[in-house]
Point group: C2
Chain length 760, copies 2
């Protein structure tokens, strides 16, 4: 119980805004916790983790592969052997297994050319000689066989189509080639389809993760000429998980949609290709020279195409039968609050060997689980229940975690305290994203774990990096793009480092955005440039151990970090949350969307003026095709009053809660603590509105969502922000209302919790 003293004092300090260095220093961890954590750390053995990694990543382990099932069974067996109550839960999901792919340049300079679509093995790197790797392939594209002219659309993001339109280039009926980067993979073929394209290609330009970024594998970590990036192109911003069972678990007897009715499946064929193949196709393009922002690092003049000369044949065929997922779920039952669940997960399926993604995180999870087993043998018992999950099918669309969360939704809403995720991991800096009430908790953890390369707390390195980035101009200017909180934390070691908001791209999505279970995602990374083999054959044991985390010291550090978080959450009997952090963050988001509304109005005014003065045409080169941009919808003035009031109320309620917990937390009776927990545990579910977001009701969280048109990237206050961005002003006003309701409900629950502490 002593643990909490320091923390609640801190909560109080923050709530009233009177932070001093004495207050803000990490609270002393009491001796028994310290000893327990030291014992935990002593169990983490990087060499053993390396051996696990070598075995788990020895063969391709995608959904449906033999090794995927073997890995699940082995993980379950390990958990059991360490004293966990472990089992495998299976789900039957739609999963397109590739049958055949073809891509040829059939017209234009360089034709005929048949794309290789294969990743050659690396001499000396044994697993790359496998015959079982998936071919060039993106999951949930639409099978088809098309021949059409080629157009280059840069990153394939909305602004790229605007640029093409300005040049008079249409992609209708064409095959669109885009490059990776600039936004989530799945949006590229989707936006091509929305613009009428007949097919889509995505290639990895050497500028983005190939030779321009570093020496290529095996000399260095970057993507070699014939490496390509597999991935999912399911329209996950609508809903993740099995396309046939939105909102419900894909159990044997679940009611399933017809495949043709599953709106998240692409209608046009799509393939990912290497820059080795792409260079031939791009060299064949005529038409205008590509704008500066479209140009990659291939030794060619990038053109956008537009004529009919460069013609491409693209054919993809898949087996659309159901496949079985193997989720491993292990439980340590809580001794005092067994119905409070601390859920922690990392997926185990990869696109090929998946050494860095996801198995580097998986071996951390295993190391934690083994260490907990040792602690239990020594007599320790968690007060709350710990649930360790090893997900299958994350890569094709968060399948394993989503189906499990949907299946157990009611139970998770009743019992879930927090979901803690990890995924790929590597050498470098501490990174965390998550629900902002846990911001101070995460800061405490990162202040208590030491960086193996420098010996300082990982929070100090993270802050040093933030400080240097802020000073030297990360993000395109001198600290541009950083929130006021980040700038403040960069230059003041007494301040907590802000958490980033969670978007999507890993298994926390269902918990946070569908069920309202607060979530945190932990990782290390940023040194050694590991992006180059992402989702390729070359993300294997040799690459990970040579370039991403030599000695597995950061994989081990991830285990120590997450293990601490799990232990502290499992053993506390007072909330670790600091709600002022959440309220302050939401207040910043409100400032941002208000500014966005102004920006959109200014843009519309400027645009109208430019069009009226024919400025676009006069500024263009008359010898090139020029099309004026479409004029913007009139931007009405938004009424933010409801949201302003809700945020103000939230701040007051959060301060009251934090203050009450600081003043009275330690003296609460057992009954009060149980009552307090009962209010706090489901608190984040107030952020959900049953309407969900426009066009995607599965996403019900009014504060955190993945962007409809950013994919993985987070959109905060998404109902309001995205509506403004897309100039859906009626929606913006409607979601100002819904978001206000959610925040008011949140504040009301906080008030209830405060009343419990005040003896109500």
């Amino acid at each position: 119980m002593k643990t909490r003293t320091g923390v609640v004092a801190l909560l109080s300090a923050c709530a009233v805004g009177a932070v001093t260095s004495a207050w803000a220093a990490p609270p002393p961890t009491p001796v028994d916790s310290k000893a327990l954590e030291a014992k935990f750390d002593a169990q983490i053995d990087p060499a053993e983790m390396g051996r696990w990694l070598k075995q788990l990543a020895s063969e391709p382990n995608h959904v449906g592969s033999a090794h995927d099932k073997i890995n699940a069974e082995w993980i379950a067996a390990q958990l059991k052997s360490w004293g966990w109550d472990a089992k495998i839960e299976t789900f039957d999901v739609l999963y397109p297994t590739p049958i055949s792919e073809a891509l040829e340049l059939v017209g234009g300079p360089g034709a005929p050319f048949k794309a290789t679509l294969t990743e050659p093995p690396i001499p000396g790197d044994e697993p790359t000689f496998t015959k079982d790797a998936l071919p060039a392939y993106v999951a949930f594209q639409g099978d088809g066989d098309v021949t059409a002219p080629l157009v280059y659309a840069n990153y394939g993001m909305p602004e790229d189509y605007l640029a093409l339109e300005r040049m008079g280039i249409s992609v209708k009926g064409k095959i669109v080639i885009t490059r990776y980067g600039g936004g989530w993979r799945g949006l590229k073929p989707l936006l091509a389809q929305m613009h009428g394209a007949a097919g889509a290609l995505i290639y990895s330009d050497p500028k983005d993760d190939g030779y321009a970024t570093g020496d290529v594998y095996p000399k260095g970590p970057a993507r070699p000429a014939h490496g390509f990036q597999r991935g999912s192109v399911a329209d996950m911003p609508i809903y993740p998980g099995d396309p046939l069972t939105p909102g419900v678990g894909a159990t044997k007897d679940a009611k399933r949609l017809d495949r043709k009715d599953a709106q998240v499946i692409l209608k046009i064929p799509c393939l990912p290709i290497s820059y080795g193949d792409a260079q031939v196709l791009l060299s064949a393009l005529g038409g205008p020279v590509a704008p500066v922002g479209f140009r990659g690092s291939l030794p060619i003049t990038y053109h956008v195409g537009g004529g009919d000369a460069a013609k491409v044949h693209l054919a993809v065929k898949s087996d659309w039968s159901l496949k079985t997922l193997y989720d491993v779920v292990g439980t340590l039952k809580g001794s005092e609050a067994p119905n409070d669940w601390i859920v922690r997960g990392n997926h185990h399926d990869g696109w090929v060997m998946g050494a860095s993604d996801p198995l580097s995180g998986q071996i951390a999870l295993l190391a934690e689980a083994k260490a907990f087993g040792v602690l239990m043998k020594g007599g320790w018992k968690p007060k709350r229940t710990i649930v360790y999950t090893s997900w299958d099918g994350e890569e094709p669309g968060l399948l394993g975690s989503t189906e499990w969360a949907e299946t157990h939704g009611d139970e998770l809403k009743a019992k879930g305290v927090v979901y803690i995720n990890s995924d790929g991991n590597g050498r470098g800096f501490f990174r965390a994203e998550g629900s902002h009430a846990f911001q101070h908790f995460v800061n405490e953890i990162s202040a208590d774990v030491k960086d193996p390369e420098t010996g300082v707390p990982v929070r100090d390195r993270a802050r040093a990096r933030l400080a240097v980035t802020t000073a030297e101009g990360g993000g395109g200017g001198r600290g541009e793009g950083q929130s006021p909180q980040m700038k403040a934390a960069a230059n003041d070691p007494t301040k907590d480092i802000p958490l980033g908001a969670l978007g999507s791209g890993s298994d926390y999505s269902s918990f946070l955005q569908h069920l309202g279970v607060p979530s945190i995602d932990f990782a290390y990374g940023g040194e050694g440039e590991s992006g180059g083999v992402y989702h390729s054959l070359y993300d294997d044991y040799q690459h990970h151990s040579q370039f991403v985390d030599p000695g597995f010291v950061y994989d081990a550090l991830l285990a120590k970090t997450v293990g601490r978080a799990v232990m502290r959450l499992a053993d506390t009997d007072l909330p670790v949350q600091r709600y002022a952090d959440f309220a302050d963050t939401v207040s910043t988001y409100l400032d941002e969307v208000k500014k966005l509304a102004d920006t959109k109005r200014d843009e519309a005014r400027t645009q109208a003026k430019l069009l009226a003065g024919n400025a676009f045409a006069l500024a263009a080169d008359p010898t090139e095709t020029h099309v004026n941009p479409a004029s913007f919808a009139q931007s009405p003035a938004m009424n933010f009053a409801a949201l302003e009031a809700a945020v103000a109320k939230l701040k007051t309620s959060a301060a009251a809660f934090d203050g009450a917990l600081a003043a009275k937390g330690e003296s609460l009776s057992k009954a009060q603590r149980v009552k307090l927990d009962a209010v706090v545990r489901p608190l984040d579910q107030t952020m959900l509105r049953p309407e969900g977001l426009p066009g995607r009701p599965w996403y019900m969280n009014m504060v955190y969502a993945p962007g409809r048109f950013t994919g993985y990237g987070a959109k905060t206050l998404p109902g309001v922000r995205e509506a403004l961005e897309e100039r859906r002003f009626d929606d913006a006003q409607k979601y100002i209302g819904l978001t206000s309701q959610a925040l008011e409900a949140y504040a009301a629950e906080l008030d209830k919790a405060t009343a419990v502490m005040n003896g109500a």
Copy 2:
């Protein structure tokens, strides 16, 4: 005289800040001027200009070449035939003629390799088969023969050396390879030399003007694989012109320095190379992967080197004898004020054929001269004297214009009203830079000339471009880097478009920065991407006529534009200047340097904090060499009071002058006008201080200078601004004083002129 009414009204309006659309509309040009200008325009014959260009650019015409002299003689003969009093003035200048060059990779991957150092001819483009082109060569490098390891230093600018130092890479004793761009050519080997390098190479990366920017010649306008950029590396920011005769004309009997004492000549050997050659050298480099900002568009991983493996042999030998320059000077004597000189110039020497640079501007000058001849035959006589100059030796270091200006310095100070320059020209947008008192005058000209592609005044197109750039985010953000005046003019067609300040890079430098003669530089460009053959064999007639200005319509437009400026200046008998424009611009510069002082102080504070917290080391990758940046000198608080007072006084005096001219100009007696002219004509010489700028006394203008470490780029209020940038705080305070004196003297002369108008 009616012409002036509208203008002086405008001056008045501007001075008191009460601009309305009625006031700011361009003043009506009276019928007689209009008719004269129409007659002038009718003489401009693009087809004839094209024939002149073909002849002038038919053979290499660098200093010392046979064709350079032939061109000068032909130009003089033409001027004479059109009724001008024309002659050739010669100067004898140091000019290193290349004897031999060698560059080899003698160690490292790819060795041995001998660089080609030659530009292959283009089939179908006859002049490129010449045997007389200068080889790979930069003028005023230091001959030498060195063998040393290679280091890649990006653009070779000061910040690039800081980046290398942070990586622990020294260039001492090494051969430094840099790429073109990011700053003036001559600074690259100079900074290498200052950092202890033994030799220097400069190559043209395809990212900056090669295949990444467009199709390469002959398919498109961009630089082909074996094209290289010749140029001067004389340290012109110290002084331009003949290195042996600083400050005086290089006449036969001039006193000359010993070559070893000429501080503007480089001490180390240097060669320019193509990316065809550079790719082999860069591929041989080991050491750290180059930072993101160092990476070009070659299909390689850029490394910075640092070890001894990649070794290069570089040898350059020149003939350092004197060569003769042929400046052509033609005069039309003024009928009323023969001692008021309107000087207009464009150089005639090129690096090879020089079709775009400089002959496209030269044919405009010739067309103007011919048209004036026709007007004179029709009875027109300019009131003031018009002096047309065709300079030799601009390319190696503004030799012809500088020696002429130094020789005739006293006469130019007594008689020079304005110097009007042009140089290379092409299809696109109107551009002008110059002395800000002429800002409104330039706006009037550009409002009266029609763009051939769109039919609107060229000012409208320039404004449309400014408006779109401002709205869409040119310069790295939404209108970032634009002055308040530019932003205002972008969105308000009643406002004048601001003039840019003149730095260096063409022949106005001596007039403006050494003699205090106000100057204006005119050009068209920005369409058709002509930069790719700059200073190469391929800048020839075919390239210019195919890609840069098909039909020579913009070369003809330049003649109409500059011809108007010359005619109006030659025929006015009241000043065209609006001094409020100058005062407002200087006021903006003052705001900028004050902000710069704050920024420098903030940077020093942040830097000290980061160093104290060891943030740089903690933010670095411990597996790579890391060196902390040197700590900054303490930044004292600057006292800007004197400069603030001087600018305030300048504004008041300018407003009074503009107001008096508006109110009384038309009613001034002939005697008053002569008296007024006598005060106004030498007015800009008050900007000169005999001390000159720190370390470069040749540059005496306290408002306009080329940057010491930007080369061509302008630095305004240079004594103050550059001292702040380089943290020479004592110099900054000293030049706040000197600049204040200059501006006070300027204001005092304005007051005298105002007194003349008020009947004093």
